[in-house]
Structure formats: C-alpha cells, structure tokens
C-alpha cells in the first residue's frame, strides 16, 4: 500500500494550524426495552405509544435497571479494549425541558461503567490509535416537535428513557477523514457486537464534536468549542471544517476563542453559538437515590468476554492470513459483519482471491446502485460462488460473466442454469477454435499478408473476428495461442 503522508492543516496567513478533535458519540443501545422501564424501543411507532408511567415521570414512579442494557454496555466496552468498572453509579443530571419528563436525565458522571480503551484506525498514512476516555450509560430524552403547529410545541416521549451509550474519545483525532474512519470503526465494532444498530438516519448514532486548533508543533491545546448533536458523518466533517477555519481566523485576527457550545446549521453550512460558558447549565449532578450503585461480578464480565464474536481487527488479520487477501481488501470485506459473512460463505465454495475481486467490483456496484444492504442482495452467496468458480475454471470468460451476473440479478437463477440455457459456455475446444480461426484467416488473406509483413497491430483485428464469429464465447487465452501459432505458419 502506498504510504501517503498525513496532511490536514488549516493554512493561515501566519502559519499552519493543526485541528484537534474529540468526539462524544451517543449510541443507542440495542435492547428490546428501555434503560429503566419495560417500554418498547422499536423505531417508528406512533407518537407517545411506547411510553410507560416511568418514562413520563408520573408521581411515585421508580426506575429499575434493565440488565440487558448493562450487558450491552459491557460488551461494547470489551469491544473497545476498555477497562470495565465493577462499580459504577447512576447520577441525576438536572435541567428543565419539555421533553425531559423527570426534570433530570439519569446518567453516569463520576463513576462510569467503562473506563479507558482504544480503537485502531487504518489511515492511508498508516495505522492510528484513538484513545477512549470512557463509556457511560444514560437515558435519552423525548422529542420536541416545533413545526407541527404555529403556536404549540408537541412532545413525543417514545424515545424518552431509551438507553444510550455515551462514548467519549480522547482528543486524538486530527482531521475530518480520521473522524470519518473513527465513526465507521465504532459503528462496525458495535454492529459486530450487536450492541447498536448504528443507524444514523434513525438517530441511533449521533455525536457532539469538540474542536480546537493550534499552531503546528504546539503541544498545548487551544480553547475548544463543542458542536452539539450532529447526526451524520458528512455534517460532522463539514462542521469541523467550518469551525476550524472560524477559529483560525479569530486567532489570526488577534481575537480570543470563547469556550462555548455551538450548533451546526446544515442549511447554511455554518456553526452558531448556542450558549457561552457563562450561560452553561449547572446540571447539579448527584447520585440517584432511587438506584443502588451498579456492582458487576467479575464472572459476568468474564463470561461476556468469552461470548464475544470475532471483531473486525481480528477478522482482518485472519482474512489476510487465511485467504491471502491484501490489507485493503480485508479492510473492506470486514467493515460490516454481514459483508464478511457473505464473503466467507463465497470463499468457502470458490476461489478466495477472485471472489474478493468480484465482490468488491460488480457485486458492490450493483448493491450500491440499488441502495441495498448485502443482506438484501438478489444474488445469494452460493450462486455468487458458482459464478466465481465458472470464471475460475474457464467455463465462461470475464466478459460473459458480467452478462451472467446481470441475468442473475434480474432472475435470481443460478449461474449454471443461465449459462446452459443461453448457451454462454466458453468455446474451449482447441479443434473447434482452430477450425474457426482457419476459416477467418482464409477469408482475410490480405490482412494475413500485411500482418506477416510486420503490421502486428492487426492481431487485435483477428481476435475481434474470432469473438464475433463465436458470439463472444471463444476462450480468449486459447484463441490467442492458436492465432499466434497459425499466423506464424
């Protein structure tokens, strides 16, 4: 792989600036019910149809921890190579808002369930490790809908109380590309673990982005701004670019950066001040007296560790070793668990290297065109493997394979049936081919003479004629060999 050099700096009048980024990712825990109540977490229900008395904070209602959510957080922590804390505490974060029924969010403040960990990124300039500061469990808030009525705000509490994992990175990210890779890696790990579906459209994965800048070579951090609640990688990248440029401009003009919370306006592509440090909420955190501290038995943690699936980093290593793929191919094929599963099924039944090439080429292009996940692929892994084997064995040429592939997509038929019924089998009988080639050569005596006189470019013309006559089915390799032999003669 070509080693590029890291080169993301903001160029100012007075020098180059490095951008320092830290992310607080909010990942919705994959669980049937909410963090402290039995209400369903299913996406897309009618407003306020998945709300219990606890979620809507009726008098006298008490939270009871959902053990599955705790396990999911531990699994995620293990997936991030992080320290799992046997003792953690749920705190109340107090503030008023119409979609926060309790008047506080139950979160973890001083004692989170997961401590420090790390995530490995594959960047074009080499591997890069991103530190994880912590992961804690907390409740999601409801949703305020301001645009349904000119004078009223509507509140939907379906989301209220759903478990979130807040994953806080260290300020180790240095460019929008690294942010992209980091989010994708987190998402991939959580999807492998089955702890978060990573669906950004449905809001299952959102992030607060902390950005600061400093002169290249400086070791102290600059003053940071926090951009709240950005819900797509593209918007994160745009927000970082805008924000870094804004901060550099302030510095270059001799102005100070205020530590503040900002919003990213996706329509205007700019960040805007939401509240300054002075107006920052005083959340009055204190341990929730309705809940006992969360104590985890080491055995539970060990058992969860044993039951973890193979994660992308490990799988990548194995793909390189076992299937002879290069790191780029392995990286792509392990990025999603479903893709790696598909690949392994194909690789079991066909040529491993050729399977990777065809998957990453035609199959991905087709899925992409149709906006399909691999789990919805119109071609099953078994059929795809048969196609790869047909190419490998020389039964069909690559060109014909593309046609077979198209028919497979439309019909769902297996490639053998298509090749046979359409007579697409490659002509690989040397006698038949020789007969065909002799016929062409005798019809084009003038061209043969010209070729023999040194016009070697004409070789392509003969190949074309063979293909034309065979309906594209002539084995190209054999055709080349026989043509050369006969033209010499």
């Amino acid at each position: 792989m070509s080693k590029e050099k890291f080169d993301y700096f903001i160029k100012g009048e007075k020098g180059k600036y490095e951008v320092v980024i830290g992310l607080e990712v909010h990942a919705q825990v994959l669980s049937k019910s909410k963090l402290f109540s039995g209400s369903s977490t299913k996406f897309g229900a009618n407003p306020n149809n998945q709300v219990s008395l606890i979620d809507s904070a009726f008098p006298g209602m008490l939270p009871v921890i959902n053990e599955e959510c705790v396990k999911q957080a531990v699994r995620t922590g293990l997936g991030l190579n992080a320290k799992i804390n046997n003792y953690s505490v749920f705190d109340r974060k107090n503030y008023f808002y119409a979609d926060l029924p309790q008047g506080y969010q139950i979160s973890q403040y001083k004692n989170p369930i997961v401590g420090e960990g790390k995530v490995l990124l594959d960047m074009p300039y080499g591997p890069k490790e991103i530190g994880i500061e912590r992961l804690h469990l907390e409740q999601d808030a409801g949703k305020s809908i301001h645009d349904m009525d000119p004078s009223n705000t509507y509140v939907d509490l379906n989301r209220s109380g759903i478990a979130l994992m807040e994953i806080v990175s260290k300020p180790d990210l240095r460019s929008p590309d690294e942010v992209n890779a980091y989010i994708k890696k987190l998402r991939s790990i959580m999807r492998y673990l089955g702890t978060c579906d990573g669906n950004m459209q449905e809001g299952s994965l959102r992030a607060d982005v902390n950005v600061s800048v400093r002169k290249e070579g400086d070791t102290n951090f600059g003053t940071r701004c926090e951009i709240k609640n950005v819900n797509s990688i593209k918007f994160m990248q745009m927000a970082i670019e805008y924000e870094a440029a804004r901060q550099v401009e302030l510095i270059e003009n001799g102005k100070k950066i205020d530590q503040e919370t900002r919003l990213f306006d996706t329509k205007k592509n700019e960040t805007r001040s939401m509240r300054s440090k002075e107006d920052a909420h005083d959340y009055r955190y204190f341990p929730d007296p309705d809940l006992l501290p969360l104590k985890l038995e080491q055995k539970l943690i060990d058992d969860l560790k044993k039951s973890l699936p193979e994660l992308p980093d490990k799988k990548k290593e194995r793909f390189v070793k076992e299937y002879g793929l290069n790191t780029y191919e392995a990286n792509v094929l392990v990025s999603e668990k479903e893709i790696s599963d598909y690949y392994e099924e194909v690789a079991k039944l066909s040529d491993k290297k050729l399977a990777a090439t065809w998957m990453m080429g035609d199959l991905f292009a087709m899925l992409n065109d149709r906006g399909l996940d691999i789990s919805k692929s119109p071609i099953s892994a078994k059929h795809f493997a048969e196609l790869v084997q047909a190419i490998k064995s020389g039964e069909i040429s690559g060109r014909i394979a593309k046609e077979v592939f198209e028919i497979m997509v439309e019909s769902g038929d297996n490639p053998k049936k298509i090749i046979e019924s359409k007579g697409m089998k490659q002509q690989s009988d040397p006698k038949e081919l020789e007969k065909m080639i002799n016929e062409i050569l005798s019809k084009n005596k003038d061209k043969v003479d010209q070729y023999k006189a040194g016009k070697e470019k004409l070789f392509g013309f003969f190949v074309g004629q063979v293909m034309k006559l065979s309906g594209g089915k002539a084995n190209p390799q054999l055709t080349n060999e026989i043509l050369k032999k006969l033209l010499k003669g």
Partner: protein
C-alpha cells in the same frame, strides 16, 4: 354495641371475625364519624361510595383468613390510589387522579381492607405541623388550637379521633413518629427498604419510608405485616422473607439491653419530657431490661445534615411537576420557561419553594462539596454511631419529640424552630433504621407525649416486643373528648 369505632384495630378485626359487626356496619359508623368531624379537616378526599360498595361485597362473601378482613382504612394523601385523586397536599396535584395503585396500599387492599378516604398532610410531606397543606391545616383532636404534628397530620388526627381504625403515613424525618407523639398514638418508621416506595409521591428518596400509625402496638404489628414486603419495582426494596409481626409479638423483654444516648438530652427541653424519659427507663428496667448509657457523638450534626440531604433530593424529585403532562398548569406564560415559572410559583407553597431553593443551592457547582458531599460524609458517621452502639445493645430509648403538640400558628413563621421539632427523629432516617413512637404519658397541660424506641436494621420485631411490654405496664390512656362533634 355502644361505639364500634372506639376500639383498637385488633379488637375491631375480632368483632368482624366473630360477626359481632359487619364490614358495612363498621364502614357506616366511620362515615358517620368522618361527617361529624369536618372541623378537624383531616380528609382531603373521601371515598364513601367505594368503601360502602367494598364492605357490601365483603359481607356477601367474607374471607376471615385475611389480616384485615373487611376493614375500611383512610390513608395519607401521599400514596397514589387508582382512580382516586392524589394531591400530596399540594395545589400542583389538585386535579391528579392516578391510573395506578401504590404497592403499599395495594398490599393493604390485598389483605382484605379498602379505602375510606385520603388524609391531609403537609405539602409533599414537608412540614411538622400540617400547616403547609394547600388544603388547610389539620386540627389535633387533643385540643382545638393544637397542631396534629406533621407531615402525617391528617393521619394522626383521623386515627386519634376514631375516623379510621388504623392508618399509614410516610416518614422522611419524623413524619410518622412526631404526629403519633402529638396525638397519643403509635407510629412506626420501618427500616429503609422494608416497605416499597413505588407509587408514593417522593419527597427525599433516600429517607422516605412508609409505616403504620395505630392505637396500639399490636395494631402496629398487624399493619406492618400487611403493608411491608419486597417489591421488584423499587430498586431500594429489601429482598427478604415476610415476617409475621403480630403472631410473633411477645411481651417478655427480660435481659434485653436498652441504650440511653446522652446526646438526646438537649438544651431547653421541657422538664416533663425528661421526667417521661425517666419513667420509660424505669418501666423497662422493672420488666427486666438492662439500661446502658451510650454515646452517639454525631447526633448534633443530624439536623443540619438532614436539611441538606432532604432538600437536595426534593429539589430534583419535584422537578417533574412542570405543568407539561399532568397536574396544575398556569394559564399564563408566553413561552415554555414562563409557563414553568408561573406553574411552579402558583402550584407550590412557601415551604416547598424554600426547600427546592435550599436543595438547588446545596447541589450547585461550587457548593456541592461544601454542603451535599460533606452532608453525605456526616451521614455515614451518624450511621456508624448507631452501628457501633448496636454491637452491645438491643434497642435505644429516647423521647420522640422535644415537646408536646404546639399551637397552630406558633411556629409557622419560624422555620428553624419548626425544624428543631425533628431533632430526635431525624438521625434514624439518616441511618435507615426502624423506630417506633409509643404514647408514654402527658405533660402538665395534659397533652400526650411519646417515647421512641430505635432498633437495628430489620429488627422491627424486637422494638415491637419492647413496645408491647411497655404498653401493658405504662398505663397510658388517650383521653380525647369528642369536642368537635
């Protein structure tokens, strides 16, 4: 039969079981008493139709094996009751009708009783005189100028006036024991976690505990047995086997060691309280118990600690009353913030606002360590004082309150003097221990006074036994003339 209500719960249960009185007759008698006692203002809501209906159903198909067969009960208006308005003594819940039943009241109903009405209390259980209720102050049957104590003042008043055969209250800093002391009745605050908090309007979650209020110790044992029990819906509920407190009640206390803490002799305590305490010690000693002087050195920090911890939790617990989903909402207010401000200004009374402000202050950044965190540390020390003492003793005897019932209005504008009323009861809540207040005598005005028995965690049976023995030998009789009817 003369008066079927002027008896203990235990006697009434016997009368029902032996068919001397039917559940309907009993219910009608209480309804009559309640209708004649409006002056006391003990009830916020009555549920006579429901009670009559349930009593008839019981009489048609009686089950005498239950703990509370066909017994009508009024309960503090802090317990959420299904389809019956639950106000917590506040304007902000003036129109609130729960769709659910608190675990504790459900336990009572499951044992054969039914609801007679909801009893007045200090707003959100914040008060020691029942004067902070939005529904007016409650009068002590002991005297028409006297407070019934608080916050379970409606409960103590109704019980002493024969408006309910027994009742339940909640105790965060003394809200069961102090009103019991003021009305010559028995009140028990169980070990934290013995009774479920599910469905009880929360004041201070780490201190709140429901408990029985009754005329006798035996009644107290019956009620505790009926209302307590593990509840998976309350994460702080203790998972243990249910006990049969009434069946196991014994009056032999020979050899038990009773601790007498020197720190409970406070300045300016009326002489009668001291005399009463001495009387109590003598009775227990005569019954064969051994008195042991003990020290609980951090007692003096209990009240300030309580008035940091309780308001802190309250400020957060009461944030949900915002006018958005249920309860009172101000009609004014141009935007969300203004709606909050008006709703909470109009919905809460002064004492509640005072505690929300104190609680918000002590949790604020910059003050948290100095107040809340320090209070939590002191709380541990107070608990340790008790733990250390209980290595050598079985129970602790103290006065319940520093005085008998005071006059209505006397302390209303002096919150600190009002808070001082909880001085003997508050340490127990901070330590999560069980404590019983039992009537022990009267002061020179003839007003009842109580003594407090504090037990080890989950040692309810032992303090009930001591109380049972004490009661038999104390000779106290609650002389309440029904001046209001």
């Amino acid at each position: 039969m003369a008066d079927i209500t002027n008896q203990s719960l235990n006697e009434i249960i016997e009368n029902v079981k032996t068919k001397k009185v039917s559940s309907s007759e009993l219910t009608k008698a209480y309804i009559k008493n309640i209708e004649g006692a409006k002056k006391l203002n003990a009830f916020v809501t009555t549920t006579f139709d429901l009670a009559l209906d349930k009593s008839k159903k019981f009489d048609n198909k009686p089950n005498f094996d239950q703990l509370l067969p066909g017994i009508p009960l009024a309960v503090k208006d802090l317990f959420c009751t299904e389809n019956t308005k639950t106000t917590a003594g506040s304007n902000i819940l003036n129109n609130f009708i729960p769709s659910y039943e608190s675990t504790v009241t459900k336990n009572l109903w499951d044992n054969g009783s039914f609801l007679l009405g909801k009893l007045n209390c200090d707003e959100f259980a914040m008060g020691s005189s029942n004067e902070t209720s939005y529904y007016g102050n409650v009068i002590n049957p002991v005297g028409d100028q006297l407070v019934p104590g608080g916050s379970s003042g409606g409960s103590s008043s109704a019980l002493a006036a024969d408006l309910t055969p027994a009742t339940i209250g909640t105790d965060t800093g003394g809200s069961i024991r102090q009103p019991a002391s003021f009305t010559g009745t028995v009140g028990l605050k169980p070990t934290y976690g013995l009774c479920s908090r599910w469905g009880i309007v929360a004041f201070a979650s780490s201190l709140d505990q429901a408990g029985p209020m009754t005329k006798t110790i035996k009644d107290c044992a019956i009620m505790l047995e009926a209302m307590s029990g593990f509840d998976e819906k309350d994460s702080t509920s203790i998972n243990k086997k249910k006990e049969q407190y009434s069946k196991n009640l014994k009056d032999n206390i020979k050899g038990l060691k009773i601790g007498i803490p020197k720190e409970y002799r406070v300045d300016n305590m009326p002489k009668e309280v001291d005399v009463l305490w001495e009387k109590g010690k003598k009775i227990l000693k005569d019954l064969g118990a051994q008195l042991i002087d003990i020290s609980l050195p951090h007692t003096k920090y209990a009240l300030p600690t309580y008035y940091i911890v309780a308001p802190a939790e309250a400020s957060s617990n009461l944030a949900r009353y915002d006018g958005v989903r249920y309860g009172y909402r101000s009609k004014q207010g141009k935007d969300l913030i203004e709606m909050y401000e008006k709703t909470r200004s109009e919905g809460f009374g002064d004492e509640v606002k005072r505690r929300i402000l104190i609680g918000t202050y002590v949790l604020s950044s910059g003050y948290y360590d100095a107040y809340y965190l320090k209070a939590q540390k002191v709380r541990q020390l107070i608990k340790k004082d008790f733990d250390d003492s209980f290595k050598n003793i079985d129970a602790i005897l103290t006065p319940s309150t520093p005085s008998s019932a005071f006059k209505i209005g006397e302390k209303k504008n002096d919150p600190v003097s009002m808070y001082l009323n909880d001085i003997f009861t508050v340490p127990v809540n901070l330590a999560g221990l069980p404590a019983l207040s039992m009537p022990a005598g009267v002061d020179n005005k003839g007003q009842p006074l109580g003594l407090q028995l504090i037990g080890k965690a989950l040692d309810e049976q032992k303090i009930l036994n001591i109380g049972y023995a004490f009661e038999k030998n104390c000779g106290f009789k609650n002389e309440i003339k029904k001046w209001w009817s």
